[in-house]
Each structure stands twice: as structure tokens, then as C-alpha cells.
Amino acid sequence: MPTALTPKAWGGVLRDHRGAIAVVQWAFVLLYLVLLIVPVLPGLAPEIARPVGLAAEVLFWGVWWPGVILSMLLFGQFWCGLFCPDGTLTEFASRHGRGAKIPAAWLRLPALPIALFAATSLIEYSLGTHVSAHGTLAVTGSTSLLALACGALFGRGKRVWCRYACPVGGVFSLLARCAVLHYRVDRAAWDAASRPAPKPVDCPPLLDIRRLTSNEKCNMCGRCSGHRNAVELAWRPPGEELMRLRDDEVRRWEAAAIVFVLIGLLYGCSYWKEHGPAAILLAALGLGTTTALFLVAATGDRDGALRLAYTLIPLGGFGLFLGALEHALHLLHEAGCSITATGLYVLRVAVLAVGTTWSGWAGLTVLAQVPVWRRVVHASGLSCLAVAYTLAPNPFPA
């Protein structure tokens, strides 16, 4: 065990205790399968099926979803590397599967995960699948089957699914850019280490650890900790990665995903789902387009707007967290424990204040060289976004 609670020491613990982590991972797989399957077992007595179904909904959507969103924003994708049942299943399948190489073209489409996430969210919220046991089984269970199939086909003990296709991983990967923990690579130490390496670096999502500068897709599993004496889990300032993106790290599709999916679509899904898919899409397009216009107004050019879009991840992430939290409150409301309208708005303001301040700070750092009036436009745009979340329809009937 570590003598001090330093991130570096914990990285070493994660690397050295693979057996204990595997036990936890398989326990999560078991719990996940019970919660997914038991509520829909045919012939099961209602007095068993109903409480298990309710427990599943509370744990999936009331506890796990808001909790995991917050953990991604603050600490990175530890959920993926240490607990995710789909990750465990796909890696297990990959150890015993065909071991085919990853197809160069179709599976490597960079926007595939976020596109799948957008499609899944639209279906989920339009049909309300996350509030029914059968719906949860259909959507979440299908994703798990695809993860299993992907593992059975591709990679040799790797997490090809998590790297290239996992829909929710597409969003987690965005949120984790904000996190205060990351694996820091000392490139000089890596290159100076004796060669060939005693053993290859073990990275389940097949990241280029030598050139790793981002939390993007990093499952934080710790297996690369200490490799070549060059890799360690370390603190960094919150949102640092968003403020220091290299030109080649700013991608058009990703900026569009932040504006139209993380912010637009998920706002629509959280607050306009009662009115059907058209209303969700209209809200997504409306908020997304308005956000895109304010980004252009604040920077004056397209490249600047793309870069500035990344600084909206904290606000979008906390907006997503708020939507998840309100769903948890909705479950409490149905159990007879309601929050007042005033309480709801106080909660919204408190959560959004964190996201807005974080995004504002990151945005102003990026906009350090632009005229003051553009920074005022930026601050106004952010405020309008926060107001849009705050004044979103109240999900609790009076």
C-alpha cells in the first residue's frame, strides 16, 4: 500500500493490484446483470420484480448516471477502467476471442462514439426507455452485447470497444478533459529508457502513451503507471487541457459535438422529452445554433470559435449532471419526497454556478488576446446558456 496518498502512489496501487480490481469488476458485472435481467424475468412474482426494478432504476439513473458524470468531470474516466461492466466484458471477450486487428477505416471513425451516443440518447429519451425495465434492458443490454461482440472479434486482451465505439465513452472522453488527474508522461525519460522495453506498455484502449498529452479515451486503469519510469498519475489544474489545446487537437467534429450534443441535444433530452423527438431536436438545434453563433461572435473567426467550444465542456458537463440529478429527484418525487420549486431553482443555480465559472475562467484564458468587447460577448453568451438551463421546464408537476 502507498505510504502517502499521492496520485503517483495510487497509480502504482492500481497497477500492482490487478487481481483485487478484477474481483471488483466482476462483482459489478454480476450486480449489473442482476439489475438488468431480474426485473424482466417472465413469471417472476410482482413483489420481487417490482422492488428490484425500482432498485435498478434508482441505481442506474438516480445514482450511477449523475455520480459517474461528476466523477468524469473531476477525476477522469476511472469508472471506465476500474468498474465498467461493459469494459470488463469486452476485455474478457478480447482475451479469448478471434484477436483480429482493428479495421483501419470504419471502426476508427473518430466521431463514431459521439454519433452513436446522440442516436441512443434521442431514442432513449423519446421513448422513455430509461424509466422502464424492458427499455433499459433493450438499450443498455444491446450496448453490452455489442461490447462483447467487439471484444470477441477484435484485439488481444484489449478494449477496442471502449476506444473506438462505446457511445457513452464518447461523452465521458469529453468530460474527462476537465479532470484534475491525468497520467503525465515524461517524454525525455521514456526515450532515454533502456530498449527494447522489458515488456510492452499495457494500455487496454490502445493509446499512444509515449505521446500522451490528453485524458481523451484514457481509462485511468493505471496499468501504464511507472512504465519506463516515465508515466505517473499526477494532479493538474482543473480544465488545464481545455486551455492549452494544440492546433491538431482542435477538431471540427468534436467542437460540433460539444455544442450540438453535449449542450444542445442533452438539454433537449433532459427538459423537452415530454414533447417528443421533434421538440428534443428543435431544442437541440436552437440552443446549439445560438451557442455556435456566440462562439463566433466572441472570437471573430471559425478556428477561434472551434477552440473556444472546448471551454464549454464544464458548463455542458454540469448541465448534463443537473439533468441527471433532476431525474434522481424525480424518482424521489414519485416516492413521495418532493423538492419545492424554489429548492429546484436554488439547486440549478448552485450547480450551474460551478459550471459557468469553470467555463468562464477557461474561456477567458483562451480569449486573453482578444479585445475586451469580445470577452464581454463571451461572458454574456455563457450567462445566457446558464439562464437557459436555469429556466428550463420544471420536471415536477405541482
Binding site: R156, K158, R195, A197, K199, P200, C203, R211
Partner: protein
């Protein structure tokens, strides 16, 4: 034909130790293959070990160094001193 590592390489270290000719080394950004030492494993194995072990599709035939089987075999003999 010698082989070439393209920019899909993830620097995973797997190929370097597998090469029987010590033709693979760490380059400035990704691993590189020395065409003067690459025999595509002719003389050692039935197929190139770097391609077999690479987890991603990043090793291809180098179009700038096209060699037939006999040439690769001659290179193997020159490198190893075996007949």
C-alpha cells in the same frame, strides 16, 4: 520488400522485441524500420512477426523498397552469415 510503420503506430513496444533482424527501433515520433535490415522475416519465419504481433494495422509494405523473395533471402544471409 521491406516493411514500413505508418502513423497509426501507437508506440506500444510490441514489435521491437519481436524483430529477428533488429530492424525496428524507436524513431522521433513512432517506431521505424531500417529497410537495410528488414527481410520481412524471410529466413526466420513464414510471415513478418511485426505484422503478426502489431495490435493495429500500422505496418505495411514499403513502396520505396520493393524487393523480391530472393533478394530478401540474400539480405538475410548477409545479415546472419548463414548459407
Amino acid at each position: 520488400m521491406a516493411l514500413l510503420i505508418n502513423n497509426l503506430c501507437i508506440n506500444c513496444d510490441v514489435c521491437e522485441s519481436e524483430c529477428p533482424n533488429e530492424a525496428i527501433s524507436m524513431g522521433p515520433e513512432i517506431f521505424v524500420i531500417d529497410p537495410a535490415r528488414c527481410t520481412e522475416c524471410v529466413g526466420h519465419y513464414d510471415e513478418p512477426q511485426c505484422i503478426v504481433t502489431c495490435p493495429v494495422e500500422c505496418i505495411i509494405v514499403d513502396p520505396e523498397h520493393v524487393e523480391d523473395h530472393d533478394t530478401l533471402l540474400a539480405k538475410y544471409r548477409a545479415l546472419t552469415g548463414r548459407a
